[in-house]
């Protein structure tokens, strides 16, 4: 059965909420029923077939072609199946995801993996702010699952992150891991200012030394046995992290201003 494919056929002036493009929501619906589903575009509602050329049948394997950064909430609340985004994605890519796999071949806007609970989100390009963070009004960010980002991220990566794994091959902006509650974030590129700001628990694993603020407290260099397990667990993902076998790290704990016990680990060999 061929993938159910949505090819964007019109330029979008406004952002569109694409939460309906989810395997669970589309399961059991005919092509005609899917085409008749409506989405909001500005102040008007449009049928899906007014926005996309729809083809294919497999509702567990969705493809978005000619995708644009105006497509928000792609993969939102997805519980199973796969979604391939051939192009850019808008805000809230993988929002509240509970399972399955989303793969975006382009860039995304802010709040990717926001409130994600499980599953795998792969972004080949760059993203902006609040990757794996919490949406406005919520006190907990990403609560599980795995995010692999091949490019760069903006500020506030993993803000209030509760659980899960975020692997970033590129650079990140300021306030990486801010208010983090738990979970693991790895960054191979450069890290901006105030990493771990107001962090309570969790692990930030860096390969380049960040400029840290005073309340992240240096705890020396160590060989940590758990790193072997952690790095081994990256093997299933197509990421450069899987090539590392580092065991020796420099460790900082903090944020002391927040009585936090979060850790920043800098791979030192």
């Amino acid at each position: 059965m061929s993938a159910l494919t949505f090819s964007l056929k019109i330029p979008l002036q406004f952002a569109v909420n694409c939460a309906v493009l989810s395997p669970a929501y589309l399961a059991g619906k005919s092509l005609a029923q899917i085409a008749a589903l409506s989405i909001e575009h500005g102040r008007t509602r449009m049928r899906l077939d007014q926005v996309f050329v729809i083809s294919g049948h497999d509702t567990q394997d969705l493809h978005i072609k000619n995708s644009s950064s105006q497509l928000d909430y792609l993969g939102a609340n997805m519980g199973s199946g796969s979604l391939l985004v051939e192009g850019d994605a808008g805000m809230y890519l993988g929002f509240g995801m509970k399972g399955g796999e989303v793969h975006c071949l382009g860039n995304t806007k802010s709040f990717a993996a926001c409130n994600m609970q499980n599953g795998l989100l792969i972004i080949d390009g760059n993203t902006v702010d609040f990757l794996a963070g919490a949406s406005a009004g919520l006190r907990k960010g990403m609560a599980g699952g795995t995010v692999v980002l091949k490019g760069n991220a903006g500020d506030r990566v993993a803000d209030q992150m509760r659980r899960g794994l975020v692997l970033i091959e590129g650079n990140v902006g300021d306030y990486c891991g801010s208010r983090m509650i738990a979970g693991t974030v790895g960054v191979l590129g450069n890290v901006g200012l105030y990493a771990g700001f107001s962090m309570r628990r969790g692990t930030l694993l860096f390969s380049r030394e960040p400029q840290l603020h005073a309340t992240m407290q240096a705890c020396g260099s160590h060989t940590l046995p758990f790193l072997t397990l952690l790095l081994k667990s990256f093997a299933p993902y197509s990421t450069r992290f899987a090539n590392s076998n580092a065991q020796r790290v420099k460790r900082w704990l903090g944020d002391a201003a927040n009585n936090g016990m979060g850790e920043i680990l800098l791979i030192s060999d």
Partner: protein
């Protein structure tokens, strides 16, 4: 039944239901893994006095362990889940947590988890860190040599304890030599342990005692020095009896171990001084698992 001139009694070993668990202990070197495992499985020969029966199941190479260091697999058995949990936690805390560079991981999967590091983490006094890696929770407890890494729980399974056979020989040295050969042959088998010192017990017991406070006492029927005063099971030429007790995760594991051990002894022939192989039982009234020697050695496992 005669095998290579050695008599196999038409008897059976009577074994009991137990609860078992497995822990993987790793360390910087195999030597330190042994220090931890030996301490953890020390004073764990019999549930009668130790609460738990435990032993080292086997060595694990760095490729076989979760953290890529050399390690050992340890099996523990108890009569009930509550005792097993208590004993595991105490032994983990006093023997593995304390051992330099040691780490502990779950060694068996089960729907019934049993605490490994779940409560030990409080030793960290708030500085402990939890990590969920690959769906498993680990605890990193800061200690003076660095960090003690311990998986939160391991599995608890139904198991069998008390598989056994007796080696009846013309001298103490002959019985011991044969026992050593059997243990050497059995110790590389998976899923079993021989919890007594060196895998061998010389003080096999019967149920009950003339002293009311004791519920087990010497198995006088197999004591060679009592031949004249008790209803002995020994002929005149038997001067020493040694027993090998086996706990295992399944009936087949124990049966295979018994078959392997007895076959190794029989291969020595009558020149070894071994005359008979028998087994310890209580008339079949206490334990639901009966390991019949003839069936096991005839290749027809019951």
């Amino acid at each position: 039944m005669l095998i290579n001139g050695i008599q196999i009694d038409d008897s059976f070993a009577e074994a009991f239901n137990m609860r078992g668990t497995r822990v993987i202990i790793t360390a910087q070197t195999l030597t330190w893994a042994y220090h931890a495992a030996n301490a953890m499985t020390g004073f764990a020969t019999s549930v009668i006095g130790c609460g738990v029966e435990a032993g080292i199941e086997g060595e694990l190479s760095a490729e076989q362990t979760p953290d890529g260091r050399p390690g050992l697999s340890v099996l523990l058995f108890a009569m009930g889940s509550k005792v097993l949990m208590q004993q595991l936690e105490t032994r983990m805390g006093q023997c593995v947590l304390t051992c330099p560079t040691a780490a502990a991981f779950a060694g068996i999967a089960s729907d019934e988890p049993i605490n490994l590091g779940k409560n030990l983490r409080f030793f960290g006094d708030g500085y402990q860190t939890s990590k969920l890696i690959g769906g498993k929770r680990y605890w990193r407890i800061p200690v003076m040599d660095g960090e003690f890494l311990c998986e939160e729980s391991t599995g608890m399974v139904r198991a069998i304890g008390g598989g056994n056979f007796l080696i009846l020989a013309t001298s103490q040295s002959a019985a011991l030599a044969a026992a050593e050969v059997a243990v050497a042959a059995m110790k590389n088998l998976p899923n079993i342990i021989m919890p007594f010192p060196g895998g061998v017990v010389r003080s096999g017991s019967k149920v009950g005692s003339r002293y009311q406070s004791l519920f087990a006492s010497t198995n006088d029927a197999f004591c060679p020095t009592l031949k004249g005063v008790t209803q002995t099971e020994l002929s005149a030429d038997i001067e020493s009896v040694m027993e090998i007790v086996i706990d295992g995760l399944s009936f087949d594991d124990i049966a295979l171990a018994m078959q392997t051990g007895i076959a190794a002894i029989c291969a020595l022939g009558t020149g070894s001084g071994v005359k008979r192989i028998s087994a310890g039982n209580y008339g079949g009234k206490l334990g639901p698992h009966h390991f019949k020697l003839h069936a096991i050695m005839g290749g027809n496992r019951p």
